[in-house]
């Protein structure tokens, strides 16, 4: 497996603040890898270390098989990036800003600028000063600069920032196409799990500078909590019937019966039959699944998870 990114025990400390600690990850070529965390979790610090903009206090990083060193010219020829807010020169037009980006990547053909303006739907704004662009179009310009030289590896820090829903879908499709058709590796950071789950194959959850969990998208699905909720007229009778049948039930404060075991969640019809036979038919029966935000907040210890759990 060819690795596009590898970090070994990567860490960065600012005085007493440990921005990132013991970060060891591997990102394969052509993979879309998402870095998920709250604001201040260490996502941008990590991206800046991977781009050689800040020196790690511990460990090291390799990008496109090249060890990252401050001020080095390699391996940036094949790397595109958008870090934090997409700043451009406000006095230059969209076209001129892209021309600046082109000249910063020698070998990029002159036509690439016009092509990228079309691809990012910036044609009506091509001659407009970047300082007068809307937030969404400024984001598009930032993405255009990152993509201009056909990089093999893309670092995108919150790529959906400032985009409207149609823009988010458009950029998502563009990134999926780049990864799946052109084999571009995408390393993206976000604090919105629902968004990254639509794009990424693997997700790393970072919190307070620590890697909490690294998981595939199907693992994420499996890890999300599910439960069966029942409402019955006679709670005690229903509970007795469930306990007798070996179903570990819990009675919530509002009288709802909760079952968390996989068999109950996957076969609510069996539970329904059981209760009907016991003379306590459910008046309401519902399988509830923890949503992505709840899962993420539970993981970082900010929320217990589903309501009334």
């Amino acid at each position: 497996m060819n690795l596009s990114i590898e970090t070994v025990d990567l860490g960065k400390t600012y005085g007493d603040v440990r921005a990132v600690e013991h970060l060891s990850i591997q990102v394969a070529e052509g993979e879309i890898y998402a870095f998920l965390g709250l604001n201040g979790a260490g996502k941008t610090t990590t991206i800046r270390m991977l781009l050689g903009m800040i020196k790690p206090t511990t460990g090291f990083a390799r990008v496109l098989q090249t060890r990252v060193r401050p001020g080095s010219r390699d391996p940036w020829e094949s790397v595109g990036y958008l870090v934090e807010v997409p700043h451009s020169y406000p006095e230059l037009t969209v076209y001129e800003n892209l021309e600046v980006a082109r000249r910063l990547h020698p070998g990029t053909p002159r036509e690439a600028v016009s092509r990228m303006i079309e691809r990012m739907s910036l044609v009506p704004d091509a001659d407009r000063r970047a300082g007068n662009l809307s937030q969404g179009n400024a984001q598009r310009l930032g993405l255009a600069k990152a993509l201009l030289h056909n990089p093999k590896l893309l670092f995108l820090d919150e790529p959906a920032n400032g985009l409207d829903p149609a823009g988010i879908v458009e950029i998502r499709e563009l990134l999926l196409e780049l990864a799946h058709k052109q084999g571009v590796t995408v390393f993206m950071s976000s604090h919105i799990l629902a968004e990254v789950s639509r794009l990424a194959q693997r997700i790393a959850v970072i919190h307070k500078g620590h890697l909490l969990q690294e998981l595939n998208i199907d693992e994420l699905e499996r890890n999300r909590r599910r439960r069966l909720l029942l409402r019955v007229r006679d709670v005690e009778a229903a509970n007795r019937a469930l306990v007798a049948a070996g179903q570990p039930a819990e009675i919530l404060q509002d009288g709802t019966i909760q079952l968390k075991n996989a068999a109950s969640v996957e076969h609510p019809d069996d539970i329904n039959c059981l209760l009907v036979k016991a003379g306590s038919p459910p008046t309401r029966l519902m399988v509830e699944e923890e949503d992505l935000e709840q899962y993420f907040l539970r993981l970082v210890g900010l929320n217990r998870g589903m309501q009334n759990e």
Binding site: Y89, L92, V100
Partner: protein, 259 residues
């Protein structure tokens, strides 16, 4: 130094499109216009008396610039002090704006040597500062002709031009290290503050008699003494300039860039 021409194109384009050169050119015109105004006031006692303190100042300036050689010498000193501040303003904008506007990060992870990026910036600073010096000088010549200063000849003007050119080169050389302050301060404030402090220190150092060994006093002393400085003074300016440029390069290469 590959891609230097591309980096020069980028820096020149940013400067031209910003309209800052126009504002600095207009700003630089204030110096010759101000001097010419003061000389004009001193030549007209009725106006001078009405203006009080300004009139007294005008008489002082007129005393320092009674003819073309003295007038051009005065302009050399203006370049050494006022021009120096103007050059620092240009440096602050060219270097500090990358931090203030958040555009620096787009120059860091690119397949271009930092030395090429920085050299292009220094070259544009030098070209721009030299252009401003020429604007000040030409405006000074026009003003001198308008107020009909005595003692003018082709030789005097040529000598004055050489004095101005060398003073401007020395002032630009002494100003270039302030790129380091713009980089460390990540903006405009630190270099401008450091420039004001440097001018204050220059006065003290000159009064103490060590001016010829203080790089920021050398341009003014050169303009004043019309070149009668020991060779070590020029070397000090050159070394300060190179030291500042190297420090700026090392800072851009090795310092953490969080913006």
């Amino acid at each position: 130094m590959n891609n230097l021409s591309d980096m020069l194109w980028i820096e020149l384009r940013k400067a031209i499109r910003s309209r800052i050169p126009l504002w600095t050119a207009l700003g630089s015109l204030f110096m010759p216009l101000g001097i010419a105004f003061l000389i004009f006031v001193s030549k007209n006692p009725e106006i001078s008396q009405k203006l009080g303190l300004v009139g007294a100042k005008a008489n002082l300036v007129a005393y320092s610039a009674i003819d073309w050689p003295a007038y051009l010498g005065l302009f050399g000193q203006i370049i050494a002090a006022g021009g120096f501040i103007l050059f620092i303003l240009i440096i602050s904008w060219i270097f500090g704006r990358e931090f203030a506007d958040g555009t620096l990060k787009d120059m860091l992870a690119v397949p271009i040597q930092r030395s090429s990026i920085l050299l292009a910036k220094f070259i544009v600073v030098a070209i721009w500062s030299a252009a401003m010096s020429i604007v000040i000088f030409i405006a000074g010549l026009i003003m001198g002709a308008i107020i009909e200063l005595p003692g003018g000849s082709a030789g005097v003007i040529l000598q004055g031009s050489a004095l101005m050119a060398i003073t401007a080169c020395l002032a630009i050389g002494a100003a270039l290290p302030f790129a380091f302050f713009a980089s460390v301060g990540r903006g405009y404030l630190l270099p401008m503050g450091a420039a004001v402090l440097t001018l204050m220190m220059t006065n003290i150092v000159v009064l103490a008699g060590w001016g010829e060994f203080f790089p920021w006093a050398v341009p003014g002393l050169y303009a004043q003494g019309k070149g009668s400085l020991p060779p070590v003074s020029y070397w000090i300016v050159l070394l300060t300039c190179l030291g500042g440029m190297i420090a700026t390069y090392l800072w851009w290469k090795f310092a953490d860039q969080n913006r």
